[in-house]
Subunit: 133 residues, 4 copies
Amino acid sequence: MLSLDYKDKRPIYEQIAEKLKELMLLGAFPENTRLPGVRSLAVELAINPNTVQRAYAQLEREGYIYSVKGKGNFVAQSGKLKELKLAEITDRLLDTVDHAKKLGMSDEEIIKLIRQRAGGDICDNSKRIDEEI
Amino acid sequence: MLSLDYKDKRPIYEQIAEKLKELMLLGAFPENTRLPGVRSLAVELAINPNTVQRAYAQLEREGYIYSVKGKGNFVAQSGKLKELKLAEITDRLLDTVDHAKKLGMSDEEIIKLIRQRAGGDICDNSKRIDEEI
Amino acid sequence: MLSLDYKDKRPIYEQIAEKLKELMLLGAFPENTRLPGVRSLAVELAINPNTVQRAYAQLEREGYIYSVKGKGNFVAQSGKLKELKLAEITDRLLDTVDHAKKLGMSDEEIIKLIRQRAGGDICDNSKRIDEEI
Amino acid sequence: MLSLDYKDKRPIYEQIAEKLKELMLLGAFPENTRLPGVRSLAVELAINPNTVQRAYAQLEREGYIYSVKGKGNFVAQSGKLKELKLAEITDRLLDTVDHAKKLGMSDEEIIKLIRQRAGGDICDNSKRIDEEI
DNA sequence: GTGGTCTAGACCACA
DNA sequence: GTGGTCTAGACCACA
């Protein structure tokens, strides 16, 4: 279910959190689904339970899951997840765009780069772009 | 000239390297300018010379500067810097775009988000695509 | 397991890296084998842990090993090692051949020298070319 | 006449020695030619006279030049130079070949690599090579 | 325990 | 003076 990459520089607990986050944001679990228990996941991944616990703690702190004492950890409401997903993506986009701009790149140059990378050239029927800015 | 953030998770040497990188990529120094000496920068930042040394070593490995024994550390050719700048930006863009796509977003949705953030909304003749989020 | 040469001009960390590189390229370790810990190797070689750390850091940068925080340093995939080995050898060959050519030697003269050194003399139907030296 | 590369990791005095060596080995100077004076070469290269002196000292130690007190430094006999040239090249070749062999490569594989690099394939009219070894 | 970072202080080669 | 290397010793995050 989850695969770890020990060559990855990020700590194991963060990789687990990240992977679970992705699965939840992609809608892989219905809301309120119970996640695998700390111990069973630890066994499955052949790692220390503390490490799994740490991953779950982080996910809870960020609002992706909620824990019920003695019951387990559960996936948050799907409304909440959608909100987190949008925030996650826009935050990262903003960061990257800000960085590119700080180095002197314009919005249109950035978009051009994305288009080149994507291979497609969908919006090329628009009028000369720069005159509108 | 440089400021350190001790709350930052990243190691000091990396912060220094990062900041200097930015300055160089922005063209803040003419090529072949001598950077502050290992010891003098250490005094200025109130840190150990070894830490500065480490930052400089990393910058040299990455091609941003070259060091001359007994003379100092010098900014690389501006041609080389431009090349590194483009690589740096596109790498980061790719990462972000990949991440957004992994979460189920299309190229056009990504571009739309950037446009919204930028304030402009040029390519709005495309169909509505945001309903999915 | 490793021996240091203090008469050698090269820094200790580089000697260590070099020796380990050789062992790995020769296939002395299965892939993913754990290398000796930073501290234990330091004790064994009677040097400072930082120096070992530096050697390991360089090997990691060059792709020979990967390090896992809290676990240790591990030998890279043997596929990766083979690739590095070929690169290492051809780089060095190129350098040497370039140097010999810069001093006015032809490819065939170079090959002849290697054959002489190797003991064999297979391609001796070529014209005499050594008169120039 | 001589150009320095400050990005080169080797010390300046070694670069000078190397360049002069090359010129002499290529026969650029008649034997017993007087080399430029320490001070004048230092001025020309905009470096410290000590550095030039060091280069000359090394060349003398290796037999490429001889110095006459109060007169200057002179190119060695061309017989001596030829001998040094051959030694220089074969030494380096031996080193490289030994290294490649230590990593498990055969003489013929090495020669093949050189041929590939050279682009030419001169000796291919010989019979199957491996059966002769 | 293990690697990663940092400090304080030293010595060396080079310029 | 300047960068490069090394030591001794400390602290932290992670497992």
